[in-house]
């Protein structure tokens, strides 16, 4: 197959060629970068929180009146929650992973250290805490009931025993052997001892740069008269427990409001809503873009076929096979697409640079562009197939007609 005649034919309709090429170039640049953003978001959304998300839910309780005794209500509530059929574990908490709100602080290796060694989320739990979260203890031991401290928001001090995540342990003690070591959460207070290490428990903040650094603390700290509880149901019984929990708790103590009864699955959905929306919107842009570009190629190819009907007939009359005609249009499309793709490759990296510069996004991995090449070549060939087949069916007799 001679490329030369195709090329010289193309040169006669430069503008159309440039338009299709430009369209392919922009499509490649946008699709590559959009796909990369989508894949990043999906990776983010697939990060494990470390806790049992399928069987757990949480709820808030707010008591009325200035004389509300948060401590005794918490004791009674936990007793009630644990006695409900289908409940595997319950604890009072201040936050859960992915909920975007909670308590964070710095951890230091020395007292009165000027800047802390690492940042960590603080999860205040009682002796059933690890079990209620469903996090996996990999070293050391769980909290003992007598270790749980009651303190008000205005008191100071961090309990003497803490359990931290593997990631935080590695950060604080890169050499290993974190178990049993002492660390400082309160610069001016006494140290805390690491009594256990859990495999993983994300912080509540999905965009925190210390997302894997969490500390469990055996303490109950009500926020005024507001207390939150985390409940883990036996497998498959979560919804059944959730249905009765509000009524049971109000019956046990009517001078309060039970609110925000939500599954941790819902917390995950809410936490990642922005990432999911971004992925869906970019996905829609990609589909629409590929569709428009394909239709553009179909339209332009149809026009060329119509314009050259007579020329095709002449070629057929001179001995070209149907296959030759088909191949002519396929090759023509391949040439235009390739030129567009070469420009698009440069544009894709330029767009990536702009995104890196303006939005601190990571660099587009190199393989997106070659993969994009293959996809758009295929798209071009598919789009041109219809018009090209139509062209190949032009009868040689057309050449003999004058108009």
């Amino acid at each position: 197959m001679e490329i030369r005649p195709i090329f010289s034919a193309l040169m006669r309709s430069k503008v159309s060629m440039i338009l299709i090429g430009l369209q392919v170039a922009l499509t490649l640049a946008i699709v590559c970068n959009a796909l990369f953003i989508i894949s990043e978001r999906l990776d983010r959304m697939n990060r494990p929180s470390g806790m049992n998300e399928t069987d757990t839910f949480w709820l808030g309780s707010t008591g009325f009146g200035q004389n509300f005794d948060a401590k005794s209500v918490q004791q009674a509530d936990l007793q009630l929650l644990r006695s409900l059929p289908g409940v595997a574990a319950a604890t009072s908490v201040i936050s859960v992973p992915m909920s975007q709100g909670g308590w964070s602080t710095g951890v230091s290796l020395q007292p009165n250290q000027r800047t802390s060694t690492a940042s960590t989320a603080m999860y205040m739990v009682d002796a059933q805490g690890l079990s209620a979260y469903g996090v996996k203890l990999v070293e050391g031991r769980d909290f003992k009931p007598e270790e749980v401290v009651f303190r008000s928001m205005n008191d100071r001090g961090i309990p003497v025993s803490v359990i931290i995540t593997r990631a935080l342990a590695d950060r604080l003690f890169p050499e290993g052997g974190a178990l049993g070591k002492q660390v400082y959460y309160d610069n001016e207070g006494p140290p805390s001892t690491i009594v256990g290490i859990v495999e993983r428990a994300q912080t509540p903040w999905l965009s925190a740069d210390f997302i894997e650094n969490s500390t469990f603390v055996p303490a109950f700290i009500p926020y005024g008269s507001f207390t939150r509880y985390l409940v883990r149901a036996e497998p498959g019984r979560r919804d059944e427990v959730m249905k009765v929990v509000e009524q049971k708790m109000i019956e046990a103590n009517p001078s309060r409001i039970i609110g925000r009864v939500r599954t941790i699955e819902q917390v995950r959905v809410d936490g990642y809503a922005g990432d999911r929306a971004m992925a869906i919107i970019l996905g829609a842009v990609i589909v629409a873009l590929l569709g428009i570009t394909a239709l553009g190629i179909v339209g332009m190819a149809s026009f060329w076929v119509a314009q050259r009907t007579k020329q095709i007939g002449t070629r057929r009359a001179l001995g070209a096979t149907k296959f030759d005609i088909l191949r002519y249009f396929q090759t023509e499309n391949f040439i235009i697409t390739t030129m567009g793709l070469l420009a698009g490759g440069v544009l894709a990296y330029a767009l990536s640079l702009w995104l890196m510069h303006s939005f601190q996004s990571p660099r587009l991995p190199w393989y997106y562009v070659p993969v994009g090449f293959v996809c758009l070549w295929a798209l071009g060939q598919l789009a041109v197939l219809g018009p090209a087949l139509r062209a190949s069916r032009v009868p040689p007799a057309v050449a003999t007609r004058s108009v």
Binding site: T62, F64, A273, L289, G296, F303, V403
Partner: protein, 434 residues
């Protein structure tokens, strides 16, 4: 002539319905993608109080640790301490000033049919209402004297009044919250804000609080803020020590009616901080800031990076759609070379031919615009479904409708210019030969 060309254009478009549909759909999709994203970005970043956004200033003081800045970019904390807020309120050097924070209280309605509910309130000063101008339906704000007396008073939002009093004028009535009775001084009308610009520390797109109570009262009742609380140094034990600490949890706004007043206030803040430095506070270099509403919204990235990227891609998509339309129009007009030749031979000037084809592209533009507008409305429904918190910024206003139509026509005419110009250059003689 215009109507005649319009008829010609419509007839020509009808002759190739598929090609026409492709062009209209292309423009419509491009318009919808760009306008949906632009609407969200425009409304997110739009000035919430244009008549005085340059007079309202957010107060930032750098009381942070000597060892590290509050933020990586060196900017001061996004809130102030209670003690500094109180000092600035008492100094009263601005034309209006309001410190504020968010609290959550259980409401115990008198009406036994209304279940107790948890309510979000803004604890602030009476100047808040004069500064941010929420519309009152009944009554009005409490006064400065009541601020000073820690009065148990409350201003209800429209929804809270609906819930508690069935929308009746409830001024003078009492609302019980966490065992304390508050007297209603005023009820707001519907207060719709595109962004909750007066407190951007816990999300820019939540609704205004359901009620408002005096700052002094909330502190008197030891109500902790439910917003963010950041400390670079652990506070001492007890409520008093917390109030006295360097923890930041209060938002502070001042109204300064002229640039001269702004300069004066800036000088006052600097001298205040220098005084405090003598007491051993404010260990960092002087770094006070007074951004106005728009600057503060920019600092706090009210328009998120995601939304900017989406808008950029939306417009890139529009460019692709336009390039597509140019190609298709070019194809179409080239095919009509014979017709052009005939008209030219019969005496039509290039100008007339140009007009005729431009009107044809205009028709495509208007149709694409109308369809695009419908698709934009659908797109905004989708945005509201995807981002629950964007409901106030994902809706079309008249300006955006007009922009959409204009954008569509301008796009289509621009796309039609080159093909039209090409069509006009047809040599009549070449086309008339058999």
């Amino acid at each position: 002539m215009f109507t005649y060309y319009l008829q010609l254009g419509l007839r020509s478009l009808k002759r190739n319905p598929i090609l026409t549909a492709l062009m209209v759909a292309g423009i419509a999709l491009g318009i919808a993608a760009s306008m949906t994203t632009l609407t969200v970005m425009h409304l997110m970043g739009s000035d919430p109080i244009p008549w005085k956004s340059d007079k309202l200033h957010y107060v930032q003081l750098d009381n942070w640790s000597p060892d590290e800045a509050a933020n990586d970019d060196g900017s001061p904390p996004d809130q102030v301490t209670y003690r500094d807020a109180l000092a600035l309120m008492e100094a009263a050097k601005a034309d209006k000033q309001a410190a504020m924070f968010k609290v959550s209280l259980p409401v115990q309605p008198e009406n036994p049919e209304v279940k107790p509910f948890q309510s979000l309130l803004r604890a602030t000063y009476s100047d808040f209402f004069g500064m941010f101008e929420p519309p009152f339906k009944y009554g009005g704000p409490w006064d400065r004297r009541q601020d000073a007396e820690h009065a148990r008073v409350v201003v209800l939002g429209r929804d809270a009044n609906e819930k508690l009093f069935g929308g009746q004028d409830s001024v003078g009535k009492s609302v019980r919250m966490n065992g304390v009775d508050y007297t209603v001084t005023g009820v707001l009308d519907d207060w719709k804000l595109r962004s909750k610009y007066y407190d951007l520390t816990t999300g820019a797109f939540s609704d205004p609080e359901e009620m408002f109570l005096p700052f002094t009262t909330a502190v008197d009742l030891k109500q902790r803020a439910t917003g963010n609380n950041s400390c670079w140094k652990a506070p001492g034990a007890g409520w008093e020590a917390y109030l006295d600490s360097d923890c930041v949890w209060v938002q502070m706004w001042v109204q300064l009616d002229s640039p001269a007043r702004l300069a004066e206030y800036k000088a006052f803040l600097d001298s205040y901080v220098n005084e405090q430095k003598k007491l051993g506070r404010f260990p960092r270099p002087l770094n006070n800031r007074l951004p106005d509403v728009k600057e503060w919204m920019r600092d706090q990235r009210v328009v998120s990076g995601d939304v900017q990227v989406q808008t950029g891609l939306g417009f890139a998509f529009l460019v692709v759609c336009l390039v597509n339309t140019i190609g298709l129009l070019l194809a179409k007009f080239t095919r009509k070379a014979g017709e052009v030749g005939l008209r030219r031979a019969l005496g039509a000037s290039r100008r007339e031919v140009f007009k005729q084809f431009l009107i044809e592209s205009g028709v495509i533009g208007v149709s694409g615009g109308v369809l695009g507008l419908l698709l934009t409305a659908l797109g905004l429904v989708a945005v509201r479904a995807l981002y629950a918190q964007y409901k106030s910024v994902a809706s079309l206003d008249w300006m955006m409708v007009a922009t959409t139509i204009v954008l569509a026509i301008v796009s289509a005419v621009l796309a039609g210019l080159y093909p039209t110009w090409r069509a006009c250059r047809v040599q009549p003689a070449a086309q008339l030969k058999l």
